[in-house]
Symmetry: D2
Subunit: 109 residues, 4 copies
C-alpha cells in the first residue's frame, strides 16, 4: 500500500476510535485546515526566525487534516496533485514566469 493511503487510513482510524466522524463534515474540516495552517504562520508574527521542530509539528497537523478531508470527500489527492501540476505548467510557462513573483493573471501578453 502506498504512503499517502496509509496515512489517510491512520487518520481515519484515529477518528473512528474516538467516534469523531460525526464532526468531520467537509465544512468543519475546511475550518480546521485553515486553523492548522495559521498555526504554521503564527511563529512568524513580527518575526522571521522560528523553531524548526515546532514548525515541523504544525506542518504535520496540516497534513493530518488535509488527508482527513481528502478521505471524507473521497478525493484521490495524488491524482489531483498531478492535475494541478499540469495546470500550473500551462499557467506558468517558464519563459513568462522565470524569476518573477507574479500571478499568471498579471503576465503581460
Amino acid at each position: 500500500m502506498n504512503e499517502i493511503t496509509s496515512l489517510k487510513d491512520r487518520t481515519r482510524a484515529f477518528s473512528k476510535e474516538r467516534d469523531w466522524e460525526q464532526y468531520h463534515n467537509p465544512k468543519d474540516l475546511a475550518i480546521a485546515l485553515v486553523l492548522e495552517a495559521t498555526e504554521v504562520l503564527e511563529p512568524f508574527r513580527f518575526k522571521t526566525e522560528f523553531n524548526k521542530e515546532e514548525l515541523a509539528k504544525e506542518l504535520a497537523d496540516v497534513l493530518n487534516i488535509l488527508l482527513r478531508l481528502s478521505d471524507v470527500l473521497d478525493i484521490d489527492i495524488m491524482h489531483w496533485f498531478e492535475e494541478k501540476m499540469k495546470e500550473n505548467e500551462k499557467k506558468y510557462p517558464v519563459e513568462k514566469s522565470y524569476g518573477l513573483n507574479l500571478k499568471y493573471s498579471e503576465f503581460e501578453d
Copy 2:
C-alpha cells in the same frame, strides 16, 4: 523512491525551473500555505454545498505548498506525522475523548 519524496522533488523542480527559489523562504511559504488553505474554505462562505472537483484542486494546492515548505525547511514530514500521531494519542485518550468535540485542555480531570 517513496510517494512523498517524489512529490517534494516535483515541487522543487517546478520552482527551480522558474527561478522561484529566491521567493521561497519559510515565512513567505507559511503565508502561501494559509492563503491556499483559505481557498479550501472559501466555497463554504454562507454555504455547506461545494463542488468536489474544485475542492480537490484546492487541496492539491495546499499539499503542494506544504511539501515545498517541508523541503525548504528540510523537514521529514512522514517522521513528524508519526510523532504528532503519538502525541495526539496521549492528548486524546479514547476514554476521555470518545464522542466529544473538546480540546484536550477542556477535559475534566
Copy 3:
C-alpha cells in the same frame, strides 16, 4: 474628534510607548490581522456554540490590528467603508441578490 480616529490614536500610542513601530510594516500587520481573525473562528472548530465574552475580546483584537494597519498605511477607513458600500450596492442589487447566498460572479444574467 471622532471615534475611529480616537481608537487609531490609542493603538498608535500603545505601539510607540513600546517602541514597536519598527515591527509594524504593512506585511507583518496583514499577517497579524489574519492571525487575529482566525482566533475569532477558532472557538467554532467542530462546534457552533461559543462564549460571547471571549468572542468579543477576539473581535476587539481584530479591530485593534485593523486600525493599526489603517494608521500605518495612512488609510481613511471611513472613506473606504463608504466606497465599498457603494460598490457592494452595485454588485449586489436587491432584485438579483434577494435571499441568495451567491457571489455576484454567480448571478445569472
Copy 4:
C-alpha cells in the same frame, strides 16, 4: 449617534434589504471574517509591495464583516476595545516589552 453605531446600522440595513440575515449566524460570519482578512494578506504573497487603494478596500471589507458580526452577537465593540487595551497594558508593561517582538508568554521573569 456615534460613528461605529452608524456603520453597524448600515451593514445591518444592507443585509436586511437583501434578506441575508438568514445566513448571518456567528460561525458563518467568523468564516467570512477570516476570508476577508486573508484578502488583505493576499497581495503580500512572495512580495512586500502593494497597491494602497486595493488594500484600503480590503480593510473596509474586514471592518464591514467585523461590525456585522458584532451586531449579530450584540457586542459593544467600543467597550471591548477598551477592555482589551487595559488587558494589553497589563500583559505588555512598557518596561518588559520595550523594543521586543515577544509574546507576553515569552517574557523572562
